[in-house]
Symmetry: D2
Subunit: 309 residues, 4 copies
């Protein structure tokens, strides 16, 4: 399945399901893939931070990726995070996942690059490393500590013909998004796909208005993002906001630092998608009060969605 600059909609960042005893749960993996596709996602992003990639052995990563690829069976593109401390590992991992059947990869800069020229030089080496593999530039300063200006992003795009997507997570950086879109609208730059993940999509309607093509983030209710993007694409911006606002209290709770992933897995389990909410160590655990908070927010979300019809 092609991963290119025409990408739009919702690329869901998936979790990696484990059994209660901590083993990879491939049956749940299949259910999660089915669930996401039923809800209308247009792509999947696997083995990111929220996919607990660093807690998997190399063999487990390959097994999980193979399972996802097989289950998706070419219906949507699959993007794999390959940020690595060195280019040898990045190249090796990229080759491995492309061989398995991934559609492209995603790269964030290391925290050691700082000046404009250092950032550009880093991505020139990424470009050299990845060759013809289509890739997504992840701009996520809260996680990386690297501030990339709009002008520098445009330099990277120019130097790297196979960079097909910007994952915009500069929190929230709406005016930066506008600037990048304006550059391609005016013909000053190649147009790439822009999917957003700010705080887990907490600015999605505004980002779509600024020209984003959709979202790439995780949320236990992917249908929210699918519906928001669809309504916005039809020009019904108010409906996009209505849907978004109905889910916002829970989305916000799921995005909290520290226990966010445990919240997400708990919700996926509650929804019958995965068998266990287990998170590998080191990882957060929900308290009884957290579970009660979530129950209340889900109940209120259901009620609000009913009101909206």
């Amino acid at each position: 399945m092609t991963f290119d600059t025409s990408a739009r909609g919702v690329y869901l960042i998936t979790v990696t399901p484990f059994t209660d005893s901590g083993a990879l749960d491939l049956a749940s993996t299949d259910r999660m893939v089915d669930f996401c596709l039923e809800k209308g996602v247009t792509g999947l992003t696997i083995l990111g931070i929220m996919g607990e990639a660093t807690k998997l052995t190399a063999e487990e990563s390959r097994t999980f990726a193979r399972q996802v690829v097989q289950r998706v069976a070419g219906r949507v593109p699959i993007v794999v995070g390959v940020s690595s401390p060195g280019f040898a590992a990045m190249g090796e991992l990229t080759k491995a996942v492309m061989d398995i059947g991934a559609s492209g990869v995603m790269v964030a800069p290391p925290s050691t690059v700082r000046t404009d020229d250092q950032i550009v030089a880093y991505f020139d080496m990424v470009n050299e490393t990845l060759g013809a593999v289509p890739w997504c530039l992840q701009d996520h300063p809260v996680a990386t500590g690297v501030q990339i200006s709009a002008a520098v992003e445009l330099r990277i795009m120019k130097n790297s013909p196979h960079c097909v997507m910007l994952k915009h997570e500069d929190w929230p950086g709406l005016n930066k998004l506008s600037a990048i879109r304006a550059a391609s609208d005016k013909g000053d730059a190649r147009r790439v796909s822009i999917l957003t993940g700010n705080g887990g999509g907490l600015f999605l309607p505004e980002e779509l208005t600024r020209g984003a093509d959709g979202a790439m983030t995780g949320f236990a209710y992917p249908e929210m993002m699918v519906d928001v993007v669809a309504a916005h694409a039809r020009g019904d911006v108010e409906l996009a906001h209505d849907v978004f606002d109905a889910y916002l209290p829970l989305a916000k709770y799921e995005q909290q630092a520290g226990i966010g992933l445990a919240v997400r897995k708990h919700l996926f389990q509650q929804r019958g998608v995965i068998a266990s909410a287990a998170v590998r160590k080191p990882g957060p655990k929900l308290s009884a009060q957290d579970v009660a908070d979530i129950a209340r927010l889900v109940r209120r979300q259901d009620k609000r969605l009913n009101e909206l019809g």
Copy 2:
């Protein structure tokens, strides 16, 4: 007006109004004080980051503080941020604002303290510096880089009898809040007031359920926080959430990194509270698209509040 462990409700973190030409605007300062008190705030916090304290001369800081004290006229306590790179400056500033009529001060740790013992030792020196002045411990790791465990906070409280409040901004740290409250509930620790400011109060209902006494943060609609705290205190938790959710999309927009203060001042100006939305340099400016975003969110907020009755 006393600032002590019984503090509850909403301590609003105020902006500092300027004229379009950048001078202190004392008439707007008076209007802002009146506005906050009419909306039901139970305290004011001035000269914080969102009050552009670092952009004021020492004389301007004193003038502004004096104006607020005079206008408040003892109706609510006034807390002043005095975090300083050194204890001489902290002591000097504390003496100055207490002489003017402040009720207490607030202190966050410098990013240089890291280990548990370093943090405790730092606040022992704060305690020694402040003497009998009541003070609030600001726990805001996103801004300071300092992670304070619940156990360390309890050590600080024990060593510092005049620490009367915890400003809890460990994002969101709900379980830490629960742990601190549990310690005083069980009689293992002195009970202090806990006001919250996580992401600008974005977890207020949940925090109240965990035992917070209210909020200390900024928002151009302080009535939201006042109403949420009041509903929660009456036991109407669902109403607290209803009110909160109605304001959440705009609150979230106002809390965004970079332009948040400009959004807040724009809203205060739109509401007729301050004459100019000017922010001193270096500071953000709203784009036309930002202003359009805000207008939409305000319109939607009004509609939703109408629906709620």
Copy 3:
């Protein structure tokens, strides 16, 4: 005394002497000034981090600055650190110290500026704030977290005609120093003075070879830097290294993180320059083993200097 682009030699970063009870010690301040001038320093830099500036009250800072200015009596320029979290405070402090008789000021960027354009914009505002006051750009990424490329430094110099000096502390950044010097040698840029402070001058001979005009740092033996600069200026590079190497073990010990300032004050006290080695809280204290280390290094240094004749 003029502070301009012709500055060269050794600008010593002074300590601020206190009595054992922690009060400003003005008699020791006078002795320290005399000592530095006798040893041949060509400038003094006061109220920096190593001058415990943040531990002084505003009144104490003024008193100390006045004492130094008065004792120096125009024999060498005096530079004052005015880095501030806001421009109002920077402007206020600059005016205050220039009124007292300082020759110029020094500014480092705040850790919040990151991209090339953010750095340039920041210093454009510095330029606007300082007006015609001559100033020194402090490039010290270990302390500030801000990486400034050679190209960006040249942009700052171009925009700010009153920036007369670069304090080069990009550890060690010898090739950056070469690049900046090459730009002015080729006529592509205005020539400014470059004084170095890398790790307390631990690369001084190499920096002079790259085109530095001298050092701006602290060391309890300022005669070392004076002699190294003089020998190098005469073309006797080997002698410059010989002198440097003789002092290097102690200089390195004095530059260690954490207790460096306590080592320096201890040495100044041993040399009869200041009456007390007291450092204000929060500050390091020497252990008996530290004192023994220092005694050994001083003894060995004396022996080595004797060998050199």
Copy 4:
């Protein structure tokens, strides 16, 4: 070869030799091993940051480790850095290198652990992951951002019976080293080996005086560290300092941020140990001026060593 608490002397952190075209150079690897053992090192540490571990593919890492193990042939212990973002990878890498014939592993904490309890909990999980494999705790706050107090280190040692060594790189932290040694001297703690690496061994004589058992760091002249440790062990502290001081100017130059590894490889090549000084991308390159600096320092070092006899 056993890696246990009796370890002492010099564990050299090796480089990874490449050919000019960037391939692993196994012949140079053999020569490097021979060179180190001839110079008297008592252990080797491979695949650390200075070994460009992150620039190797998994297969290259195994090939290099196997070559070193084979050439060493049990004469000294071999320690391998296994710090990983997750425990699955850490466990996998540990098993792989122990299977190849390593003697033990080394672990530094990730920058995300901050509070005392978080640090202890992290190393409890390391302990669980490594099982009976002997390991070294790397305390290197400049690189990790994690400040570990002496008390916390002692807690880790207590919880982890197979932690046999502390690599002390808290710059310079001499008093922390003294505190840890005092704890085992008084019988309050298990005695572990302490090897130091502060700034590349720039405080080695002082550290030995405080009770360190030797050094674990890299330097193109390992004989310096071997001779310093030997002289100190014989009680000839002054000779230890004499030898140290003779090498200090070059050691300091080799330790500089940014180009240090290129300096080291250049020196190893000059000494005939490795065939090429090539550093893999992203990596530093020496300028002609850097090379001239090094030539001067080597010449001066030879002269000084001749003087010492």
